[in-house]
Structures are given as structure tokens and as C-alpha cells.
């Protein structure tokens, strides 16, 4: 395992009466692609700005390579930021923009020219030296912003929703570009986004945040397949979150119907949250399956259909399937035991807040 490059210790930050980050601990390893993922207002951008030096935490410390940098201004930190709105200097050419950091460090002009060429090659914009930022498309501007940051050879690159303003196709292209860049440069990326697909595609590690509190840290696979609570399950992809009761090991009751699952270690008759991914709900002919249901809506989504099914046990299921079912048709519903995710109901105050937040967003 590579060493810890950035370490945040019990960071708290509030703006006025509004607490944005609360008692947050996090470390980031060298050469990791870490994504801070969460809904807007979850504190992810503030956290990035604390690492960049644009905000000072109210409490807690920031360590960089073992050194306390909590009070260090941004111009003295070995990190560079790629801003959401690119923030290119509109009065300078592309070359002048890229050279900005190097000129401050008083590097020789020959070296600067070489680095500009190298950086433009890296972001596939060779020959753009003399262009003005305003004459470039959004995607090109973002590449220049990335080039401007990486020529300084930062140990960490901070990216604040850098693809947010781009259209879908360009966003997907840039995702691959960023992965390639990260591999070629071998530096640490800290990436902020609210887009779960982006997070799953690019990250080595995802940090899911809500209301200034870290919900779960893990690889994309573990976060998607084993969400730790209903918030994570709901935020990463779509989910059916259903109230259930564990009547015994490997046995959960939903809407009066007993289903087989793989979870053990719950108390008898303990209320739980049951999470089922929409793609894990199988629709069968009405005479098969554990329960029956009636299709209430069908939406074509391109790769699959998104189908709402009202089941005979009174629970509405969201289903994703490539097979077409017409509205009002009767179906059988089945979920294999592996695909029931059983979660504890929120107990602690923190978790309760999270649930409330989630309810709030659903309104």
C-alpha cells in the first residue's frame, strides 16, 4: 500500500449557523483517484477547498506528507485545482495561461516552452498556444485548465466538478481522458462530483458524503454492491428501499410475505431496511415468481425499460429490464436471495439526520 499523502483530522467547518462539515476524518493515499461524492450541499466542495487552502477549517487539521498545512495559503501548497467553470485567464493566450504557474516559479523560458508543448500534447490540443480562451469550446477550455494545473507537477490535483458544464458525450470522453492522465502522470487526483456514474467510472476510491458526514468509503464495486446504509444505496444508482422484518437468519418478511435472503446475525423480529437494485428484480409470467404484480408504468430508457410494478403484497417495485411488458399486464416478481441487501434501520442521531435529509430531498 502506498503512503498516506493527505490526512484530514476531525475537520469541522460552518458558515454562519450552517454546519457544512462535522468532525470529518479522511486520508488519501499517494497515486489514488479519490472521488468525493454526494448531493449538493453535502460539504464535498468545501472539503476540497479546505485541501486547496481556499477555506480554513474551524476545527481540525490538514496534513500533507506528514506536515501540518492547515494554515498555509493556497499559493504555498503543492496542490493545484481545476475549477468547475475552468477559470482560465481571459486576457491571456492559452500558452500564457499554461505558463502562469511556471513563470511565478521563475523557470527559464526554454523550459516553459517545452512544458507548454508537453502539456498541450497531453490534453490533445497541440498547436493551440496562441488561441484566446474565449475562442475555445467548453471541453477545450477544460482541457487547458487541466494542462495549466498539471504543468506545475503538483503532487495532488484537485478537480471540482470539472465536467459539470459539458454535454454527455464530451463528459464521457473526458472521463476516459482523466483516467489516462492519472495513469500517465502518476499523481493523486481528488475529484468532486454529484454524478454517481462519473464516480463509479473513474475512481479507485469513492467517499460518499451527506450533510458534512462521510457515509461510506470504498471501491466503486463495494459501494455499489454493498452500500452501508439506505442513503448510499439510494444515492448510488436507483434502489427499492422497503421496510422489512428479520424473522430468522436468512429470512426476511416484506409486506407479510417471507423471502429468503443471505443475511444473518440480526435479532429476531428486528425491523430492517431491505434494498433491492431495480436490475435485480426479475419479472416472470404471473404463474411463476414469489408474488404477483401489475405493471403500472413503462418508460423506455434506451438500454432498458424502467417499469413500475404494484405487487400483490402492497409494495411498489422499480424494475429495470430489457424485456418489454405492457401497462396493466400481470407479472410474477422474483428476487434471488443474494440480491436482498438487508440494512439496519438508522439508530444513531447522525444516521437519523441522514434519513431526514433524504426524506427532505425526496419531497
Amino acid at each position: 500500500m502506498s503512503k498516506k499523502l493527505i490526512e484530514l483530522k476531525s475537520i469541522s467547518k460552518s458558515f454562519g449557523a450552517c454546519t457544512v462539515i462535522e468532525e470529518l476524518d479522511l486520508y488519501i493515499r499517494e497515486n489514488e483517484f479519490v472521488t468525493l461524492l454526494g448531493p449538493s450541499g453535502c460539504g464535498k466542495t468545501t472539503l476540497l477547498r479546505i485541501i486547496g487552502g481556499f477555506e480554513t477549517p474551524d476545527r481540525g487539521q490538514v496534513f500533507f506528507d506528514g506536515e501540518d498545512i492547515t494554515k498555509l495559503p493556497p499559493n504555498k501548497r503543492q496542490v493545484n485545482t481545476v475549477f468547475q467553470k475552468y477559470a482560465l485567464f481571459s486576457h491571456m493566450t492559452v500558452a500564457e495561461n499554461i505558463a502562469f504557474g511556471l513563470r511565478i516559479k521563475k523557470k527559464p523560458e526554454d523550459f516553459i516552452r517545452e512544458r507548454i508543448k508537453y502539456a498541450l500534447d497531453l490534453v490533445n490540443l497541440s498547436g493551440f498556444e496562441e488561441r484566446m480562451p474565449a475562442s475555445l469550446s467548453g471541453g477545450q477550455q477544460q482541457r487547458i485548465a487541466i494542462a495549466r494545473a498539471i504543468v506545475n507537477e503538483p503532487k495532488v490535483l484537485l478537480l471540482d466538478e470539472p465536467l459539470g458544464a459539458l454535454d454527455l458525450k464530451l463528459r464521457q470522453e473526458m472521463q476516459y481522458e482523466l483516467i489516462r492522465l492519472k495513469n500517465e502522470l502518476g499523481i493523486t487526483f481528488i475529484y468532486v462530483t454529484h454524478d454517481q456514474e462519473e464516480a463509479l467510472t473513474m475512481s479507485d476510491t469513492i467517499v460518499v458524503m451527506n450533510r458534512g458526514v462521510i457515509q461510506q468509503i470504498g471501491t466503486p464495486e463495494s459501494i455499489y454492491n454493498e452500500p452501508i446504509n439506505a442513503f448510499v444505496a439510494d444515492f448510488i444508482g436507483e434502489s427499492n428501499i422497503i421496510d422489512g422484518i428479520m424473522t430468522a437468519d436468512r429470512q426476511v418478511v416484506i409486506g407479510g410475505q417471507t423471502f429468503e435472503c443471505v443475511d444473518t446475525g440480526f435479532e429476531k423480529d428486528q425491523p430492517v431496511d431491505v434494498v433491492i437494485r431495480p436490475e435485480d428484480v426479475e419479472l416472470l409470467p404471473p404463474d411463476k415468481g414469489a408474488v404477483t404484480g401489475k405493471v403500472t408504468s413503462v418508460i423506455f430508457k434506451g438500454v432498458h425499460y424502467e417499469i413500475q410494478v404494484m405487487s400483490s403484497i402492497g409494495i411498489n417495485f422499480l424494475v429495470q429490464t430489457t424485456q418489454y411488458f405492457s401497462v396493466d399486464s400481470l407479472v410474477g416478481i422474483n428476487v434471488i436471495p443474494d440480491n436482498f441487501q438487508i440494512m439496519h434501520k438508522p439508530k444513531s442521531e447522525d444516521e437519523q439526520i441522514l434519513r431526514e435529509g433524504e426524506d427532505h430531498e425526496n419531497q
Partner: protein, 274 residues
């Protein structure tokens, strides 16, 4: 259809500018290149190089220049402070800035006259503290004070507009790339607000250069700016031809400075200024 409607809408302004600007300007130019008998001459134009006129022109240029610089020195830091203060109520800001303009111009100048006159408030205070009286009134300094007082809002507003429009993330990006405060100011803030400084300078420098009322009130008629000389040619000496000739030359100087500042501003937009 649309362009026809636009043409109709532009009629009031066209009538105005032809009636009150172009035709009078034509009269001025015609008088400038003729003698009182109506014969063609360039003497009225070259009269600008007479020692007295030349001296007045240079003084006008100098006072207008100094006033503009002082206005920048007052306005720019104030704009930076207002930007940093996150005091976002722009309406109140602008209200406070143009508040002095609510007072009558003559009244303002007379107040300054009272303040700096021989037995005015400032000299009384100096006397109380046992210092020597200063002779401020009837000096070029008094005229500069009056010009700065009168024209400051015209410098302040365009600069403030420009500085407030600089995106915060651009400033953060420059700090992120290692820029200290001085570097941010000289490489980001000032280049990006040159347009505002340019239009501020135009709006202060041009009227300062043609100024004569302030010079009359605070200069006591002893300081001769080119504006005063032109005024006297029209109202006292009744030599309208010479007055027109000097006016045209002043206009040419104003035009040159406007073009110079205008060019600086438009170049920054394209990013050619270092």
C-alpha cells in the same frame, strides 16, 4: 420590417445629434478656419502655439492628468476593498458613490472655496493647532481638488463595475498556481480592469481638460486653463474665430487621448497587454 422600425426609433436621437452637435460643430469649425472678415486662414488653429495658449494647454493637460491619477489612486483600492468585503448590495454602493452628485455643482465648488479660503475652515484649524496658514485657494492645487471632488464618481463607477465583474474563481486560480497578492493584482486584477480604468480616465480626463468653471471659482481667475481662455475669447474679447480655433485644437487633443485610452482598453480585451 424590423430594421424599418429600428430606424423610426432612432429618429429622435438623430434629430438631436444633428441639431445640437453636428451643425454647431460645423459652425465652430467654419469660424476656426476663417478670419473675422470671412477669409480662409489657419492662424486661429496655429494660435495654440502662442506662448500664453501653449502654457494654458500644458497646464490643462497637466491638471487633467494629475486629477485622473488621483481619482484612480482613490477609486481602485476602494473598488478592491468593496469586492473583498462581499458587501453584495450593489445598489447601496452605487447610491453612496453618486450621492455627492445630488448636490448642485456650484454649491459644491463654493463649499470647497469656503473650506480652503484664506480664513476658511482648514486655515482656522491650522491656526488653532499653531501651524502656519496655507494658501490653497487660487492655486493649481485648489483646482485639482475641485476636479477630483467633482469627477471622482465617474472614475469610481466604471472601475467598480469592472473589478466586481472579475470572477472570484479566476483570482483563486491564480493563487492556486502560486501567485502572491502583488502578482494577483498586477497580472490578473489590473489587466482585467483596464477597460474600466480606461473609460474612467476618459470620463475624468476629457471634461477636466476642457474645464473652466472650477478654475474660475477655485483659481480666482488667476490660473488660466485653455478652457478659461476659450471662454474669454467668446464672452469678453468677442473674438469668436480665435475661440473656435482653440476649441478645435482642444478637441483634437481630446480625440487623441480618447483614442489612446480606447485602444489600451480594447487591446486588453484581446489580451495583448502584458
Amino acid at each position: 420590417m424590423k430594421t424599418n422600425k429600428m430606424r423610426v426609433l432612432s429618429i429622435p436621437y438623430i434629430v438631436w445629434i444633428i441639431g445640437f452637435t453636428l451643425i454647431p460643430l460645423l459652425f465652430v469649425v467654419m469660424r476656426a478656419v476663417t478670419d473675422p472678415k470671412g477669409g480662409f486662414t489657419l492662424a486661429n488653429l496655429f494660435a495654440i502655439f502662442d506662448p500664453i495658449h501653449r502654457k494654458a494647454l500644458i497646464l490643462s493637460l497637466l491638471l487633467a492628468f494629475i486629477s485622473s491619477v488621483i481619482c484612480i489612486i482613490i477609486s481602485y483600492p476602494a473598488a478592491l476593498i468593496l469586492k473583498a468585503s462581499r458587501f453584495s448590495n450593489k445598489k447601496i454602493m452605487i447610491f453612496v458613490l453618486i450621492l455627492p452628485m445630488w448636490m448642485n455643482f456650484i454649491l459644491r465648488m463654493l463649499s470647497i472655496q469656503m473650506l480652503i479660503s484664506k480664513n476658511g475652515l482648514i486655515n482656522n484649524l491650522l491656526e488653532i493647532f499653531g501651524m502656519n496658514k496655507m494658501s490653497l485657494i487660487n492655486t493649481p492645487y485648489a483646482i485639482i481638488l475641485g476636479m477630483v471632488y467633482d469627477y471622482l464618481p465617474y472614475m469610481m463607477l466604471p472601475i467598480l463595475n469592472c473589478v466586481l465583474a472579475i470572477p472570484d474563481d479566476m483570482i483563486e486560480a491564480s493563487k492556486d498556481l502560486g501567485a502572491n497578492r502583488w502578482y494577483v493584482l498586477t497580472k490578473i486584477m489590473i489587466p482585467l480592469s483596464l477597460t474600466g480604468i480606461g473609460s474612467g480616465v476618459t470620463m475624468v480626463f476629457v471634461p477636466s481638460m476642457t474645464e473652466f468653471v472650477i478654475a474660475n471659482l477655485l483659481g480666482g481667475g488667476k490660473i488660466q486653463l485653455l478652457g478659461n481662455i476659450i471662454e474669454q475669447e467668446f464672452s469678453v474679447s468677442m473674438n469668436w474665430n480665435l475661440g473656435s480655433g482653440l476649441s478645435v485644437m482642444l478637441m483634437i487633443f481630446v480625440l487623441i487621448t480618447t483614442l489612446v485610452f480606447g485602444r489600451t482598453a480594447s487591446q486588453t480585451d484581446r489580451g495583448f497587454v502584458i
